[in-house]
Structure formats: C-alpha cells, structure tokens
C-alpha cells in the first residue's frame, strides 16, 4: 500500500503545474422582498479561498477564479443563506444576482455525500435528509443525536433515560443487524469517528454513547444517509446508514474582518412528571404494621391514632417501633429531585480571506441533572478548523477538536443500589431521612456512618440494608466517568487541471474513557463494599486517497469519475480492576483497601482496506446517473471464506421539470423522480472465527461465582462455537421517490418508499446447551424493513414580514425478522430473563418476550363453586377458585416499535422574531411497565389505594387467592391478620377489589399480589404491557435577532427554548420514551429507569 501511495505522489509531482486561464463572478445582493441593496454581505465560493463583500449598492465581484464548478454562498445577518451552483469558464465573467430571503431556514441545495464530497441535491438519486447547525442549536440538546429527533423522516430516535449525557438510540429505516446495535456510522469532515456505547445493562448506571463528545456549536450541517442506497461507498460499515457531519469553517470576509461570538445559556430543569405512588397504607403485611417490613401491605394510615410512634428504646430515636401511631407520610416520588440552574458559555472566533480561513470555538458545558446531587454532565471542547491555500490549486486544511467530558451518574434500574428501586419501594410512612445515622446498640456501643433504610430502620450495621436508601444512592454510591478525546482530520487537495482533483485525507480519533465506581460499605448490593476502575480506550485512523475527474463531453453529456483507496485501523482496549470487601470501611475508595481483587482486560484490533469508485453521468442536464462500488477486505472475515467483498450501488434521478412543458406552467417549479439501489454490510465482530479457551469462572445467574483461579487455575472451552466461514452481513436497499416544489416553492413534498433486505445477518445462534456449546456464530438471519417517508413543507402564510411554515416529517417502518437460524424461534437482545426484548422469527425485531397467562387450548366448561362457566379457546385459564393461571412457557408479549412516528414543526416568523414549535408523535408500540409490576408486589403503586366494602353475603361466598372467604379468613386469623374489617352492619371492608376473570367473582386482596400472580415478581409479565404511543411537545423555541451595528457589534441573538415540555400518553409510567438497556437492540423496557426532565433554556449570543 505504501508503495502505491508513493507512486501516485510521484506521478502527481511529475505532472506539470499548469495554471489555466482564470474567470470571474459578479452580481448584486438584494433583499428578495423589498429589492433593497444589502451592503456588506459576504459572497464566497464554498470550500475555496475565493470571495468578496458587497459594496454600498450591493454589488460584488470575485476575480481570478480557477475555472470549474463551485458552490456560491451568500450570507447576511438576519437572512437565510443563499447557495447556488456556478460554473466558471476560462476568461469569462458570469453574473449571479443574489436575492436573500429574510425568514425561513430552507434545505440547502448542496449536500455533502457520504465520502465528504459536495454534490447538488437536485442530482441525488437518494433521499438524503439535511439538518442545519442552527436547527440543532435551537433544540437545546447537548448531544447531536437527540437534536435530530423528528427533524427528518426515516430517523427513529429514543432517549434511554433522563440522566444528563445519557445515550440516545438512533436507527435509520429500521434495525437490520442482530449483532450490532444498528447505530449509523458517524462521519465528521469525511472521517469516521467512534460512537461506541459500553456498559449498557439492566442495572448499574445509565450509559453514554460517545457522540456526546461532539459540540453541537461546531456543526455546520448534518446529512443523514439512511441506508445502503446512499451510503454503500462505506461498504461494511454502512448498512445502518451514515450520518455525515460537517463542522464549521471560517467564512470569507472581504474586509478581513474577524468575527467574534460570545454565547451564554442558562439551563433550568425539573422532573417531567412524578410517578404515581399510594400514601394510604403503611409498611407491613396482613393489614398490620411490620417494622423493617419488606412490603407496604400494612394498616390503613387514616385509622391510626396519630402522634409520635411508640419506640422500643426511647433513648434512640430510630429504634424499633413497637406501635405505629404517626399518620405522617412522605412523598417518595418527588423528594429526590431538584430544579437545577446551570450556566454554559462558549466563544467563537472565525475569519477568512482569499488565502485561507479559520474557525476556533471553545465551549464549557455544565448540565446538572434533576437528581439532588451527583448527576451531571460536563464538557469542555476546543476546536480549530484551519484551511490554507499554498498555490492557486493546492489547499490544505486541518480540523481538530479536543474534548474533555466528565459525568457523575446515579445507580438505576434492576439494581438494589438503584435510586428509584429503593425510593418507590419505600413504604409511604417511612421517612428516608436521615439516611445515615450513628447507630447506638442496646449495650450503648456507637457505630457512626450507619446506613439506615426502610428495611433497616434502626440503621443497625449488623443487618443489611435490603435496598439502598435512595439518599444513600445519591450521596454515597458514586460513579464518575471522565473522558479525554482528540479527533480530527487533515486534508490536502490538489487541482492540477480544472477537471482533475486529487485529495489525500487522514483522520484520527482517540479517546480514553475512565470509569470509577464505588459501592460503599453497607451498600445493599455489596454490603462489604466494592470499588472498580475501568479504562476503555479506542483509537482509529482512517486514510483516503481520492482522485476525482469531471468532464463535459459535449452539450448533452457530462461525466464525473472518482477513484479512492481507504485504509483503517481500529483498536479497542479495556483494562478493568475491581476490589470487593473493604478493609477499612470508611477509608477513601482504593483498590488496595479491599480483600478480593478481580482484574480483567480486553483488546481487539480490526483492520479494513478498500478501493472504491464512482461514475456519474449527467444527460441533458436533467437525468443524473450515479454508479459506485467498493471492494473491501476486513480482518474479521473468516479465513475459510472470501476475504474481499464488493459493495455496489447505483442511482438515477430525473429532474423532469426541465422538460420544455414544465417551463411554461406556474404550478410545479421543481420536480424530480428518483430511484436508487445499493448493497452495504456489517462486519462480523472480531475474533469469532474460531473457538477459544477461556478462564474457568462460572456464575449461575444469582450472583455466586466459582473461579478456578482460586483453586490453582483452570481453563474451559468457550461456550461459543467459532465459525471460520463467517462473512459480512449484507443489506440490499431499494428506494424510490419523488421530490416536488409547488406554488413558487411555497409547498414542498418529498416522498420515499424503501425496502431493505438483510441476508447473512450474523447471529450468535443459540444451540442446545446439551450439545457442548450454548451458541455458535453464523450468517443465518434474514431481516426485512419496508417503509415510507414523507416530508411536506408548507408556507401557509406570508404577510409582509410575517410568515408561518409547517414541516411534517412522517415515517413508517415495518420490520420483520424473516429467518433466524434453522430451529431457532427467537434470540435474546437485551433485558431480563422475563421479559426480554428478543428477535423472534416472523415478528418485528425487539419484540418483548416473557411470561404469559395460560390459555385454554379448546372451548372448555369449568365448574367453580357449583356453577358452570364457559371459556372460549384462547381465553385465560382459571384455577379451581376462578383465579387466572400463569403459563410456564414464555411467548411474545408485544412490539415496542411504533406503527409510525411523525414530527410536526411549526415555524412562525415575524420580522426577526422566530417561534418554533416541534411536536413529536409516536403511534402504537408497546412498553413493559416493569416498575409497576414490581410495585404491585410491594403494595406501593399509586393504583393500590383501593378500599372496597362488600356485603355480608359476599363476605361469606367470595374467595381470595388463598381460597378463603373473608369470613373464613377472619375466623382463621382472628388476631394475627387484619386484612379484612367487619363493619357494624355486617359488611366487610378490605384493601383490594372484587374481580371476575370469567369464572365468577373473586376477591383481590394483598395475597393476590405477593402470593398470587398479580405482581411482576410472581405473575406473568403480560399484564404489565402498555401502549407506548405518545404526543410530546418536544421543543418550543423563541428567538430574536437584534441587529446592532454599533460599538463594533453586528447583532445580538436572544432565545428561550422549552425542551420536553409536555407529554400526552396512555402510558402509566413517567415517559414511554425510555429504555433501560440504553441504545441497544433491546427496547421497550422500563424498570426503575431514572426519570426524564424538562428544561427551560435562555440563550444570548453577542456577535461582533
């Protein structure tokens, strides 16, 4: 390879440096509405050194331009950016008059393609969605992926949890890979960067995806290439699409003016809405108070006498409560949250002249979470983008960023150290404050710093906490991640002829992610304490050498040709050490202060090498054909199969409005029909081509582990069977569509229909464990996606300086797992044993799968209590007392994927005041409310404040889950249980309700929930599936641009952004847009997830 590069350079230097005859561009800049001249507007050719400023009468001229095709850009404060493609011919001066429209942000006519080359949008055969930097900033999100939610059709995003910096999942046109998380490749300035997510699990802290390291301020534009048709040029990294980010560059200023912007933002956040918890019944069981009791099936708080509790040891205020008297209750749903206010600021300096440009940005971001403490995300980012021309035809540029982030995170999810797990399970009559006490034993011994929780109300260090006191989780259970990252690219571009360009680009991305976690002494999960240290580091280097030719053969046909070579080297390594059981319980967290150590490490290196090319032919300047191909080798392809694969794509676009017929009609101003097809892939994961031997360490799913290291060491065959024939998974995508602009561009419609079919999808196929392996790697799965994308932009109203525009982005995707592997019905993607999110043959990927009710297999007549009841086949089976029966076999519970997703974006503009309202709608989809399922067991859920009175007759007749009638029950347990209360009139009251499951009325009391199938722990997950549809007021922003041409100022921008303001949903949890396992393929799981927040952001930007 080195030889090749050397030879090419040799050739280039041998080629004569010839200067062609130069051309020029001139014109006038005016206001499109008033026709007034706009003096001082910047007009320049994009990514070149050519430019000028308009004079007092609005005229400009750009001289000495090397002939070729460029993008002419005009910018003026308060106006929409103007872009147009221009072709400069030798010796000629062409005229381009620029009419700037105040108002709306429109889609740029220029698109940066997957390999970082600019192309006119009109010539694209694929539907590429663009999002401008301004739109991104207006959302108020600090991570790029969240900010493009509903901004374009075909983009499906979901925010995992509400923690600052938490990962957001993005899937373009549906998931198609089982072994990856289906996240698109992110390409910044032509070079791929990492967007890895490590540590997604059902417990522990919420995780982060590394796209948080991109400062949204630095983004000029984002192009979303949704699948292989647009992105095949990236071969086996592109099956999930590519997000092409272009960072800002300094813009040309004729006066060599240096622009300076100072920006400040104030964030204020709060809990979106509280989770429903009951406050009527106290700690205990059988209707009686139980000190340190697990459950909240105790007495009715209203019936207590009131006043202070009677204590076993009056000298110790937290001692055992002998008689619960107090009626005080506590709001465990909101007491953990605050409304933080934080300041963020940035400074931006940029400029440019005919020899070069520069852009510098420094940002300091602090985002505080709504949890009382230790939940935050901080980022310091510095970027320098510099370009310089060395000669008329050689340009070099370097874009580089250094980013430091740090984040404190709070334990969540299925995790007895987790915040909401402990909080929501706490009985309403238990005060979680203080969470730390100095415990005094009956003999007078003192134990400072003891963890007090509702299951250890005395704070006795001799007992375990059960679940962490949520305040203990917040203040003591610390997690800190901090990252240093450098990424960027350098490029040299050489134009020996106007029709030839040679570009060499090299990009590198390196970061270390350090993760420190502490479970202090007396933590519920690890009573003897644990400290862990992890360093994850990733490095990649990508190089591209590209040769591009453009040639106008004759008046009818022009052509372009591109040839490139790509090499990349990707290294991931990971060092981990944990120490368990502290020696000194209150010492600072330190590995050597523990008794048991567990170190680990991981390392993978993946290399890819490829050649690629693209041929473009434009006929009659209205039919555009593009063909591309990539020939790629990767180190992860199996030795027994091919080592090199070919990924082709092709597209055709016909701008039919260039036919003579259309030039004479006023309705359709632009129309294009397009079709495209492409093949892209996903590389196999590293090191699956053979079966390895691993350390003999075994767990059984409940925590205890046997590690042969402590018995002299052992080694066992991996349970994963390697496959030397593994090859990339291949996705073929076909899309076609139409783009129309009507009524003087006031209505724009774009519709796309696509299908993508993945074959040879890589699967770690489950095999019967009795075979000797539990899984084998294979290319066996087939996954289909079919969908429709629709974008309508309509400017309803334009009255003077007032305008109202609505954008609708509507997407619908139908995913089907067509085939997994022979005999394999389903495989787990994420989640719990019950339920899990799985790929099930014949269903959409990610369906929730778990325990269900047993159902009658045929029409059945059952006799219950002497009466006959008829059941249809398929209805829920009931037992001899009429209660539903759980099935021992699992099945599909529901599909978390929405039927469709839409964004409604309304932009109202009045002069320099802009109001933007974004409504996000997701229709359909299911979510598992595991939080509710668990709380039903504990008796703390908001639903469970029932109080029912039944007649004396019913109290003699109806049975509870244990098979007792209330009267029998009271006779059997006259003193020790107070579940039922007989009223003077003979009626009976109890906490619960009367239900009928088809076999006659039964009594639902506390036993149905913790002994019977009524809770998520003891009964089927099926009963906690809920509709995940929602309408969300995602963003409301009001911005004002104040031109202020005094004191050297240019303008001041003021803004108010309301983010995630309101949600309308049938979901009974906090927010259906959540997922316990982060951006993984497993979706639709809500189990004590940290809650989402809503925010108000004030911004000010002073521009010099």
């Amino acid at each position: 390879m080195k030889k090749l590069i050397f030879s090419l350079f040799l050739l280039l230097t041998v080629a004569t440096l010839a200067f062609a005859q130069l051309g020029a561009i001139r014109g006038r800049v005016t206001d499109a509405q008033t026709g007034e001249a706009l003096p001082g507007a910047n007009v320049f050719l994009l990514n070149t050194v050519y430019g000028a400023a308009s004079d007092a009468a609005g005229f400009y001229v750009i001289r000495n331009v090397v002939p070729g095709t460029y993008t002419l850009v005009a910018r003026y404060v308060g106006y929409q950016e103007f872009r147009q493609s221009v072709t400069v011919t030798p010796g000629d001066t062409i005229t381009v008059n620029v009419r700037l429209v105040p108002g709306l942000i429109q889609v740029s006519p220029i698109v940066v393609t997957a390999i970082g080359v600019e192309e006119e949008r009109a010539k694209l055969g694929t539907s590429v969605s663009s999002v401008t930097g301004e739109t991104i900033l207006r959302t108020g999100y600090t991570n790029v992926i969240s900010s493009i939610a509903v901004k374009a059709p075909g983009v499906f995003t979901i925010e995992a949890v509400g923690d600052p910096g938490a990962a957001t999942r993005i899937v373009l046109r549906g998931p198609r890979s089982l072994q990856t998380a289906n996240q698109p490749l992110i390409v910044v300035d032509g070079v791929p960067i990492w967007n890895s997510t490590f540590g997604a699990s059902v417990g522990n802290v919420s995780t982060i995806s590394r796209n948080v390291d991109i400062n949204p301020e630095d983004i000029e534009s984002i192009e979303v290439m949704k699948g292989p048709a647009a992105a095949a040029i990236w071969g086996a990294r592109a099956a999930n699409g590519v997000i092409v980010i272009k960072t800002k560059s300094g813009s040309f200023s004729a006066a060599k003016k240096i622009r300076l912007s100072l920006k400040g933002r104030i964030h204020r956040s709060e809990l979106l809405r509280p989770f429903p918890l009951q406050r009527e019944f106290g700690q205990g069981q059988h209707g009686k108070f139980v000190f340190n009791g697990l459950l909240s099936w105790g007495d009715r708080i209203a019936d207590r006498p009131g006043g202070p509790d009677s204590l076993a040891r009056p000298d110790y205020p937290y001692s055992r409560i002998v008689e619960k008297r107090s009626k005080d209750t506590y709001d465990h749903a909101t007491e953990l949250f605050r409304k933080p206010i934080t300041w963020n600021y940035s400074i931006e300096v940029s400029g440019g002249d005919e020899w070069g440009s520069f852009y510098l940005n420094a940002e300091r971001l602090e985002e505080q979470g709504i949890i009382l403490a230790n939940s935050d995300f901080k980022r310091t980012s510095i970027r320098a983008n510099v370009s310089r021309r060395f000669a008329e035809n050689i340009t070099a540029r370097v874009n580089a960023a250094y980013v430091k982030t740090s984040t404190n995170r709070i334990q969540q999810g299925s995790n007895i150290s987790g915040l909401l797990l402990g909080a929501y399970r706490t009985p309403p009559d238990f005060n979680n404050q203080p969470y730390i006490v100095t415990y005094v034993s009956p003999t007078g011994a003192r134990f400072p710093n003891s963890h007090r929780s509702y299951r250890n109300g005395e704070g006795d260090p001799g007992r375990v906490a059960g679940y962490n006191n949520p305040f203990f989780t917040i203040y003591r259970n610390n997690t800190l991640f901090y990252t240093d990252r450098v990424f960027g690219s350098a490029e040299i571009s050489y134009d020996p002829y106007k029709w030839l360009n040679i570009t060499y680009r090299i990009g590198a991305d390196y970061y270390t992610d350090r993760r420190n976690q502490l479970w202090p002494f007396q933590d519920a999960a690890l009573p003897s304490g644990r400290v862990s240290r992890e360093v994850i580091s990733q490095f990649q280097i990508n190089t591209d050498l590209m040769v591009r030719l453009k040639y106008q053969f004759n008046k009818i046909i022009s052509g372009s040709f591109l040839l490139g070579a790509h090499l990349d080297h990707e290294l991931t390594d990971n060092t981990f050490v944990q120490g368990t059981r502290f020696i000194l319980s209150d010492a600072p967290p330190y590995i050597l202060n523990t008794l048991d150590y567990l170190p680990d490490e991981g390392k993978t290196i993946v290399r890819t090498g490829a050649f690629y090319g693209e041929v473009g032919v434009d006929v009659f300047d209205q039919v555009y054909v593009r063909l591309s191909g990539r020939n790629e080798s990767a180190s992860t392809y199996g030795a027994k199969g091919k080592k090199t694969y070919f990924f082709p794509s092709g597209s055709i676009a016909w701008e039919f409005t260039k036919l003579p017929f259309f030039t004479t009609q006023p309705i359709i101003t632009f129309g294009k029909l397009r079709a495209a097809v492409g093949v892209a892939g996903v590389r196999p994961p590293a090191y699956v081509t053979r079966t390895y031997y691993v350390n003999a360490s075994f767990g059984n799913g409940w925590g205890p582990v046997t590690n042969a290291i402590y018995y002299g060491g052992g080694s066992v065959q991996s349970s994963q069977l390697g496959n030397p024939e593994i090859k990339p998974e291949l996705t073929t995508e076909i899309e076609y569509g139409i783009d129309l602009r009507l009524l003087s561009d006031r209505l724009s419609i774009s519709a796309t229909r696509y299908t993508n079919k993945t074959k040879d999808a890589i699967l770690n196929v489950a095999v019967p464990p009795s075979s000797g392996f539990s899984t084998r790697w294979a290319n066996t799965a087939k996954i289909d996606n079919k969908g429709t994308e629709l974008q309508v932009i309509a400017e309803w109203l334009r009255l003077g300086s007032f305008s109202w525009t609505t954008t609708i982005n509507w997407s619908q995707n139908k995913n089907t797992v067509v085939e997994l592997a022979p005999n394999i019905e389903s495989i787990g993607l994420a989640g719990f044993v019950d339920p899990s999110s799985r790929a099930v043959r014949g269903y959409p990927m990610g369906v929730l799968y778990g325990s269900k009710w047993e159902r009658w297999t045929r029409d059945t007549i059952v006799t219950i209590g002497g009466k006959q009841y008829q059941f249809k086949a398929g209805s829920i089976r009931v037992d001899a007392n009429g209660f539903p029966v759980p099935s021992p076999i699992y099945g599909v519970l529901g599909d978390p994927n929405p039927d469709w997703r839409a964004g409604f974006i309304n932009t109202l503009r009045f002069g320099r005041l802009t109001l933007n309202v974004v409504v996000d709608v997701a229709k359909g989809g299911k979510i598992w409310n595991g939080t509710k399922g668990a709380l039903y067991f504990f008796g703390t859920h908001g639903d469970q404040n029932w109080w029912t009175t039944i007649s004396a007759d019913e109290a003699d007749r109806l049975k509870n889950y244990l098979g007792f009638t209330p009267n029998q029950f009271m006779a059997t347990y006259p003193v020790e249980r107070k579940v039922y209360r007989r009223n003077p009139d003979g009626t009976v009251s109890f906490r619960g309700y009367v239900a009928d499951f088809g076999g006659g009325k039964v009594i639902i009391d506390e036993y149905y929930f913790y002994s019977g199938p009524g809770s998520g722990f003891t009964g089927p997950a099926e009963q906690f599936m809920e509709d995940a549809g929602y309408v969300k007021l995602r963003e409301v922003s009001l911005t004002y641009n104040l031109p202020l041409r005094r004191f050297g100022l240019e303008s001041i921008d003021l803004g108010v952004i309301l983010r995630n303001i309101k949600i309308w949903t049938k979901y009974t949890g906090i927010d259906p847009e959540t997922n316990l396992t982060g951006p993984t393929n497993g979706q639709g799981l809500d189990y004590f997830n940290n809650p989402p927040m809503r925010s108000v952001i004030f911004s000010i930007s002073v521009n010099y």
């Binding site: 090498g609 080798s633 180190s635 059984n700 925590g703 080694s715 009795s770």
Partner: protein, 479 residues
C-alpha cells in the same frame, strides 16, 4: 499535451488499482484475525480443573437451594424465591443450571478425558470418568429423560437426542465403573484437585462406589427394590465412603475422612462458599430458615441435636448460620457425598432385604458419624428390638437420611424416592409429617430449560405447569 498526460495518469491509476486491489487490501488486514489474548487449546489438567469448578457451581448452586426449599430444610423468602417456595416455576428458571451441567461440566469432562488419553494421563481420565458418572446420574435424577449418548459431542450433532432416564442411569453407572477400573490400575495422585480428595485416587474410587450405590438405589425403587439390586447397592456401598472419622482444617468445620466435599476459601466470586455468597453477599433475605420443617424436626429431637442445629441454623430458627465454623461460613465446605449417606443406604438396603440386624448396625454407624462431625449425641446403640416392625426401622433410617442429606441436591432425589415420607414427633407426641407448601403434591422434577425447549427439536414433550409434579421414570412415572 496536457490532456494526454492526464489520460495517461488516469490510466496508470486505474491499472494500479485493479491489478493490485485485493492483494493490497488483503495484505493490509492479514495478521489481525485472531485474538491477541485467548488461547485455542489447553492441557487436560487445566480443563479437568475447569470442569470441576463448574461442577461446584452447579451442584452447590441453585439445584441444592431448590432441593433444600422443597425439602423444607430452608424457606424461599423473597421475590422469585418466594415463588419457588410454593412451586411456581418456569422453564427458564432452569436454563443456567442446565447450561452449567452440560456446556460447562459434561463438555469439559469429555474434552479433559480425550486430552488425558492423548497426554497419557490415565489417572486423570479415570477420575474424570467417575465425576462424569456422578454428575450424569444427578442430571438424570433431576430432569428425567436427558441427552447423554449424543450429548457434548458437537462434532457429531448440535441437537442431541434425549435418552431414556433409566438408560442414562445405567450409562452413568457404567462410566463410574470404567473410572474405578482405570484408577485401580493407575494410582498416581492427581496433580491438581479442587475437591477434598487431595488428588488421592483411592478417595476418588470410594466416591465412585458411593455414587454407584446411590444411583443403584434410585433404580431399585422402580422395581420395588428387588434383592438383586439391593445386593449390588450393598456391594458398592461397602467399597464407598463409610469412614466415620473426622478430618478438615480449622477454622473450617470438619467432615468425614473419606467424604467428597467442596472446600472453600473466603474470596468473594472466587472460592467462597456459594451459599454464604448467596445469603450474605448476593441475595440477602431470599433464602432463610423461618422455622421450616427441618428446623422444627431438629428442635423436636431436643438437645441431642443441638450440635447439628447450631451448625445449620441461627438460634432464633429464622436464618441459616453464616458465621464462625457453621455450615455457611464464608470458607465452609459443602458436601457432595458424606459417609452418613452411604451408611444409611447400607442400612436401608439391609432393612429392605429383611436383614434388620445389619440395618441397625449401619444406622448406628451413621449416627456415630453424625456425632463425630456435628457434636450431636445421637444414640449409637440401637438394637433390632428398638423397632417393632421393619417399617418402623425404615422410617427411622429415612428420617436420619433426611437430616444427613441436609441442603444437598440428593435430598430432593431421596425424598421423591420415598414419596416424601418423613415424620417426627412433636413435644406433644403428635406425628408431624412433611406436607406440601401448596396444594397436595410435591415437586417431582426440574423443568427442561427454556434454552433447550427453544433450540432442540428432540425435546420429549411440551411442558405444562402441572408437569412439575409428574414423577420421572425411576420413581414410577412414564416419562
């Protein structure tokens, strides 16, 4: 001129690209195919050690806890364990244990045996065969018809067939026999042993015989304990673990000189006692005593049992003891086969044959063992006259066996074999029988795991909730 130069340039580039293309890129990626950290093979000794560690995790893990709960020697007291306590099980509850049993234990025992033969380590081969027999007998007892003849042979099939439970028992006993025969001829000590044998092949042979006696007794039940099989039980048991002397290193509690036990250290997620890890570190509150049947039975037996009571339970009868030299201290050993079990098997076999004198002798020997190990003061001078009928003697033997197998997986097999016929007299002289926690029947098997249900077309039938209570063949069932 310029365009000609340009065309030449393009031509040269294209030629370069398409001639060298694949070669160049494939050369660039070569040498990065394999993991820089993991080996592709290992020696027999280390694989056998790995298999043994997996056996510990299986045997001392969930199966023993479920056995203890269902035998009412402990109580499932929190969340899923509350469901287990009243027999609410799903197929998936057994996936981890099945995985350990097959993918970890059996597979690596087979690989270790093959490598041992290649490396000429026949003593290791023999020990691995015996362990395979002990293990597969247990697997057959728990699940019924299970894969064996085709199991753990991925080169042959990835979907092994299910063998009849009786055939699996027979094959497991055959494996033990083969192991004993090989070890008899290859007596060199094993280089590395995770169990209490210290690598002694003599101890491995004894363990083999004890296990053989245990499984023959399982088989005997099906045909109502024919004399021929009982004679085989006696013959095997007499060669098995029957020493009543005590060994073990303080501060950990002692065990019988020849007992097969797992020895433990104090490292969490390393070599710590797995019950200690579960009760203290991982799942506090899930597994408790809560005055379960065994607690009450020991209590009713009075001070004679205080040694054993204190070994297993806390003074308030609510928890399992995890401190000092108790059963579930961090470094406490966990028994696989105790001498008392083999001695009581002998007693039972003789009693069933009508040889009551010998039966009483071995009952006394078993009590001697218990006294030595736990500091109990059980009677060791019973005579046949203490038992009015053969049934009375058998009941006494059963009751002792029930306590001797405390918290071991085998207690579940044993109870099913005798139809859970355990009883004691309370303070008032009333007979208290072991009765189901819910409904009228006891569990009779483990479910086939979801991992097998959803992958192996040979799974014998589609399980329903009631199948948990269906007897396996060896206990008189039909599947």
């Amino acid at each position: 001129m310029k365009s000609i130069l340009g065309l030449i340039l393009i031509g040269v580039i294209i030629t370069f690209v398409f001639l060298g293309c694949n070669k160049l890129t494939e050369g660039y990626v070569k040498g990065y195919e394999d993991s820089p950290l993991l080996p592709a093979t290992a020696p027999a000794t280390k694989i056998f050690a790995g298999a043994k560690a997996a056996f510990i995790e299986f045997y001392e893990g969930t199966p023993s806890k479920l056995a203890a709960i269902w035998a009412q020697q402990a109580t499932g007291a929190d969340r899923q364990y509350m469901a287990f306590d009243i027999y609410n099980m799903t197929a998936n509850d057994f996936s981890n244990d099945w995985f350990l049993a097959y993918t970890r234990v059996l597979t690596n025992l087979k690989i270790a045996q093959q490598k041992a033969q290649e490396e000429g380590l026949l003593n290791l081969y023999g020990a691995a065969k015996i362990l395979e027999g002990i293990h597969m007998g247990m697997v057959a007892a728990l699940w019924g018809d299970v894969p064996y003849s085709e199991a753990a042979q991925p080169e042959r099939t990835l979907t092994p067939k299910y063998d009849n439970q009786i055939e699996v028992y027979t094959a497991a006993i055959a494996a033990i026999d083969e192991g004993i025969q090989v070890l008899t001829q290859n007596t060199a000590a094993l280089p590395q042993d995770l169990f209490s044998t210290g690598g002694s092949t003599a101890k491995w042979i004894k363990a083999g015989y004890s296990a053989k006696a245990r499984y023959l007794m399982h088989l005997a039940r099906r045909d109502n304990y024919p004399t021929a099989v009982l004679d085989q039980v006696i013959s095997a048991a007499l060669n098995g673990i029957i020493a009543t002397t005590r060994t073990g290193t303080p501060p950990a509690a002692g065990y019988g000189t020849d007992d097969l036990v797992f020895t433990h250290g104090t490292t969490y997620q390393g070599n710590m006692n797995l019950w200690h890890s579960f009760i203290v570190q991982d799942r506090s509150g899930y597994l408790r005593a809560l005055k379960c049947y065994a607690v009450r039975m020991l209590g009713a037996r009075g001070t004679a049992e205080s040694g054993r009571f204190n070994y297993y339970f806390t003074a308030d009868s609510n928890d399992l003891r995890t401190t000092g030299t108790a059963a579930y201290a961090a470094n406490a050993y966990f028994p696989v086969i105790r001498a008392s079990e083999t001695l009581l098997l002998l007693a039972e076999a003789y009693a069933r044959k009508g040889d009551l004198a010998n039966a009483v002798t071995y009952l006394n020997r078993a009590n001697t063992y218990t006294n030595t190990i736990f500091g109990t003061t059980l009677r060791t001078n019973y005579t046949t006259t203490d038992f009015p009928t053969q049934a009375d003697l058998l009941q006494a033997i059963f009751n002792e066996m029930y306590l001797a197998l405390m918290h071991q997986v085998e207690v579940f097999n044993f109870l099913r074999r005798i139809d859970y016929q355990i009883q004691y007299r309370d303070g008032a002289g009333n007979i208290v029988r072991l009765t189901p926690k819910r409904g009228t029947v006891f569990p009779q098997r483990f479910f086939y795991p979801q991992s097998e249900v959803s992958t192996n077309p040979n799974i014998p039938w589609i399980q329903a909730a009631d199948d948990l209570f269906a007897k396996t063949r060896v206990n008189g069932g039909t599947r």
